[in-house]
């Protein structure tokens, strides 16, 4: 199924044509042509076309609307349009007279529009845009039902026998399919024409594309036969990979490529609109799909798959859940020893956005707050300008302009400015979106496809117009109401000087400070969390360490040969100058992980619950290369290999949790499917899953004794500059196995960096918003006090003439500043306290009421406010009594 036109525009059209009985057919016509165009000229072109048509159709609809054109009595009749034109010309002329004001105001509005539009662009794919699947709302995610507190992926995945039985028994679904969640462990090397390359392929059930409703761009999906346990090998290439590696060669389809020395038929190419990784595995690029058999063989591997189901018409996620629950009860009764049964049904869209919803909601809220601050600020700017306008308005009214006309004219002026702001905002948002989508290592769905599209531009314009209407109304009403003859007589002192007007402006400043305070406190809490996360001791040293994934091109006949190969390889790498230590592991920390069951031998056969452990296959150099200390006993020695006693290491927390004691050297554990193994050492904990997550029960096996891995990661600790060592080691690897595909190496520091990236991402955006909020608040205070000093000049002059000193005046103005700021901070603090609870899921090691964050932010605000209020205060203190009065 081809992609659909932008939903926002379609909704706009549906609205514009809502009274036309033919509206559905018009939408249908457009969809049809959109699909054709998308197929022939590409989606980008089709979207541009649709945008133009939608705008033209909507505009045409209103401009030719019979009511608007013929009756002449309604809101937007001909005379209204011509008046609007006049107002616009007048507005442009009056703005040209004060270009500084116009430019500055547009800039401030642009900040708000830019901030909201950038966030809108990030949020849009989650909230508005349909998933790139036909009938995406019918799709549900079916994970396993994990035990309380379980976090590892194997607790959420399901066995293929579950898929088989759900398919056979559940009536709520048109189809259920799935993919192998542990695909990273199967790494493929592509050989043949060109450089050998290491690729990532994901195993899927043969009907994966059918159930999702994804039509290959070229060729076909998988056949049922290809989905069998030893079916004919076939792949469907991702669009990006096909373009990058094969230069979009259409003849490739139907041919074959060689993966791990096996020819695979290229069945098809996925459409560009469906990027597996950006939806299911953000941050992990996927080059192709292959089949994953739903058979007894794969069932033995335990929990491997995530399922995706398409609901039948009428079924809901809830009804499907109850049906699966009943099926599971039936299966459990029929097969009492069956394990790993469970199902949890959620709409696919929720599943994809769930991990990010709190961060995204926070960004949305922050952008909205910033926009609010902008509104308050601009209202104040306009109010400050009111007295100047009052005279001009009074003249117009004296010549008979009705009040409505004056208000409208002032509003048009604000609207013109805010449309300028929309342009500024669009540019700012464009820059922001470029920065975000270019940021490497951001594991957020859809982020690669981020762009400032038509919907975003529409949104920016809408925000600007609404902002303009909101902020323009109060000042316009105030100016228009300003006394007529009175203003003319009073020689320019207009509406602005009234006590009420000043109160209003001061109230707005207090609100602004309050909102800025909330932004700053939220930012402060996130900074504190970030500090706490970066301060975590990961348990290994990430500096001066580089890693490679090894994927030898050799086929090993025996495990001994495989072990010997790796031993020779590490020995050769250890000889490279600058290499201090070298070690091997099946998967480095902060990457992928799996879990095994484990039991104490004395409890085997009893009803006692087993434990779950994270297994790692390492060589004798790994712990030292990573800088992981041994707490008791010893680590692996080069001699602990094949044919010797089966031994293992466990970590401290694991020892405590499983044995209730750290001193467990010499005791035994039964892990996975293997035999009982003697524990020869206890090692310190490391954070393997994520920095924030406490260490689980970690077990280390010798890679030669437990060869349960398809590739190994090699880590090198360097004593010389990293880039020099990296080059030398890469050269050494090429010597050992010239056709071993090498994706570039990566540093452990960069891995840690990537893991922290979502946190840093939110922090940066909120930090930028916080700074803008702070500046705007400072500006607001400055503006209001400057204005009030100017207005009170004669009064201050008299007071000075009567003996008040400059410092008295300074104190009085600063006092006002601090009073306004403190009031704002008080309100902001209360709002922050109420709101920061919503933040708690994003905080680490920081309480939502963290006093340091609150106090620091209050101090920063007070400092900025003092600086902002200090300038007018100094000016006031220099007023010379007589001269001030004379100038009146």
């Amino acid at each position: 199924m081809s992609s659909l036109p932008p939903p926002l525009l379609e909704r706009l059209l549906a609205w514009a044509y809502r009274s036309d009985p033919s509206n559905a057919s018009i939408l249908g016509d457009l969809r049809e042509d959109y699909a054709t165009l998308a197929q022939v000229r590409g989606v980008a072109r089709a979207r541009r076309w649709y945008r133009r048509e939608a705008v033209l159709l909507t505009a045409g609809r209103f401009l030719h609307h019979p009511i608007l054109v013929s009756t002449g009595r309604t809101f937007m009749n001909e005379s209204f349009l011509s008046a609007l034109r006049e107002d616009t010309v007048y507005a442009l002329r009056s703005l040209r007279r004060s270009p500084g004001f116009a430019l500055f105001t547009a800039l401030v509005i642009g900040l708000g529009v830019g901030a909201t539009t950038a966030v809108f662009s990030v949020l849009e794919p989650f909230v508005l845009a349909p998933l790139p699947f036909a009938g995406a709302d019918e799709l549900v995610w079916i994970s396993n039902a994990p035990p309380q507190g379980a976090t590892s992926q194997s607790a959420f995945t399901s066995r293929t026998s579950n898929l088989r039985d759900f398919r056979a028994q559940a009536r709520s679904f048109e189809g259920i399919t799935g993919y192998n969640a542990f695909f990273e462990q199967g790494a493929y090397s592509l050989t043949g024409d060109g450089e050998p390359e290491r690729l990532v392929g994901v195993g899927v059930a043969h009907d994966f594309l059918d159930v999702l409703g994804v039509e290959p761009a070229l060729g076909r999906g998988f056949t049922e036969e290809e989905g069998l346990w030893v079916g004919p090998p076939a792949v469907v290439l991702s669009h990006g990979f096909w373009v990058r590696r094969f230069g979009s060669d259409p003849d490739l389809v139907g041919g074959a490529i060689t993966l791990n020395d096996t020819p695979f038929t290229v069945a098809g190419v996925l459409p560009a609109s469906f990027d597996f990784s950006s939806i299911f595995t953000p941050g992990v690029p996927v080059d192709f799909l292959l089949t994953f058999a739903v058979s007894d063989e794969t069932d033995r591997w335990g929990n491997t798959m995530f399922f995706i189901g398409r609901l039948r018409p009428g079924a809901t996620a809830t009804s499907a859940q109850s049906e699966l629950d009943a099926i599971i009860v039936g299966l459990e009764e029929a097969q009492p020893d069956r394990w790993g049964l469970g199902a949890r049904v959620t709409p696919l869209r929720d599943k994809i956005s769930a991990p990010f919803s709190s961060a995204l909601a926070l960004l949305g809220a922050a952008a909205a707050t910033l926009l609010l601050i902008v509104c308050v600020n601009v209202t104040n700017l306009l109010l400050a300008r009111s007295p100047g306008r009052a005279r001009e308005v009074a003249v117009r009214k004296a010549f008979g302009a009705p009040r409505g006309r004056v208000v409208r004219q002032l509003m048009v002026e604000t609207l013109v400015i805010s449309l300028g702001g929309a342009a500024v905002g669009a540019v700012l948002a464009w820059i922001a979106v470029r920065l975000v989508s270019g940021a490497a290592g951001l594991a957020i769905p859809f982020i690669d496809h981020l762009s400032l599209n038509g919907s975003a531009l529409l949104f920016a314009t809408a925000v600007a117009v609404v902002t303009g209407l909101l902020v323009g109304l109060i000042p316009a009403l105030q100016v228009a109401d300003g006394g007529e003859a009175g203003v003319l007589r009073a020689g320019g002192r207009g509406a602005g000087t009234s006590r009420g007007a000043r109160r209003l402006r001061e109230g707005l400043v207090v609100a602004e400070v309050g909102l800025a305070c909330v932004m700053l406190v939220v930012g402060g809490l996130l900074i504190r969390s970030f500090q706490a996360v970066t301060a975590i001791d990961l348990g290994f040293e990430s500096d001066q360490a580089v890693a490679w994934q090894l994927n030898p091109s050799v086929d090993f006949e025996t495990q001994q040969m495989r072990a010997d190969f790796y031993r020779a390889l590490t020995a050769r790498v250890a000889d490279v100058p600058g290499v201090q230590e070298v070690g091997l592991i099946d998967a480095l920390p902060l990457g992928r992980e799996r879990t095994w069951g484990a039991q104490l031998p004395e409890l085997v056969g009893s009803d006692a619950q087993g434990f779950s452990i994270f297994p790692h296959m390492i060589d004798s150099g790994y712990l030292e290369a990573m800088g992981i200390p041994i707490v008791a006993g010893r680590g692996f020695l080069p001699e602990d290999g094949l044919g010797n006693e089966e031994v293992m290491l466990i970590n401290e927390s694991g020892a405590l949790r499983m044995f209730g004691d750290v001193d467990v050297v010499g005791r035994s554990l039964r892990a996975g499917w293997g035999e009982e193994r003697r524990i020869i050492g206890v090692v310190a904990d490391i954070r393997h899953s994520s920095p924030e997550m406490e260490a689980g029960n970690q077990a280390y096996f010798h890679f030669a004794q437990v060869p349960d891995y398809s590739t190994l990661d090699m880590v090198v600790r360097a004593s010389a500059p990293l880039d020099r060592v990296t080059q030398a080691v890469s050269a050494a690897l090429a010597e050992i196995d010239p056709s071993m595909p090498r994706r570039e190496s990566w540093t452990l520091a960069s891995t840690v960096d990537t893991v922290l990236s979502p946190r840093r991402f939110t922090l940066r955006i909120l930090g930028a918003y916080g700074i803008v909020a702070l500046l705007l608040a400072g500006l607001g205070i400055y503006g209001v006090l400057t204005q009030s000093v100017a207005e009170r000049k004669p009064e201050i002059g008299i007071r000075m003439a009567l003996g008040a000193s400059g410092s008295d005046v300074l104190r009085s103005v600063m006092g006002r500043t601090l009073a306004l700021t403190t009031a704002g901070i008080a309100i902001g603090a209360v709002m922050s306290l109420a709101g920061s609870r919503l933040l708690s899921s994003m905080l680490y090691g920081t309480s939502p009421t963290d006093p340091v964050a609150f106090v620091t932010m209050a101090v920063i605000l007070l400092l900025v406010a003092s600086a902002a209020g200090g300038i007018p205060a100094l000016q006031a203190s220099r007023i010379r009594g007589i001269r001030a009065l004379r100038s009146e």
């Binding site: 199924m1 081809s2 659909l4 033919s22 559905a24 057919s25 018009i26 939408l27 249908g28 016509d29 457009l30 969809r31 049809e32 042509d33 959109y34 699909a35 054709t36 048509e53 033209l56 159709l57 505009a59 045409g60 609809r61 030719h64």
Partner: protein, 109 residues
Amino acid sequence: MAKLGEFELLVLLSILRNGKEPYANRVREELEEAADRSVTRGALYRTLERLRAKGHLEWEMEGSEIPERGGHPTRRLMVTDEGRQAVKRARDVLAVFFDGLDPVLDPKP
């Protein structure tokens, strides 16, 4: 008696020619290809409305099998007898005016 504009005439002719598929999208395609002019949808839809108001055109809603339409119906356009008469009159007028003009329009070298 309402007169036909040039574009209106082309639209009516195109509907008559697309006897099996008298749909707005086909009409627009034909106008763009055969008459080599770019047709915005707004212009076409307004013309359809206008022709209907003049009594030259009627339509009924019809379900569509085309999957891309996402279930949206389509308009089956039908030229009324009155419309047919108007087209014929336009043809006759044009024929009178074209009569004998060939040597002027396509002068032989």
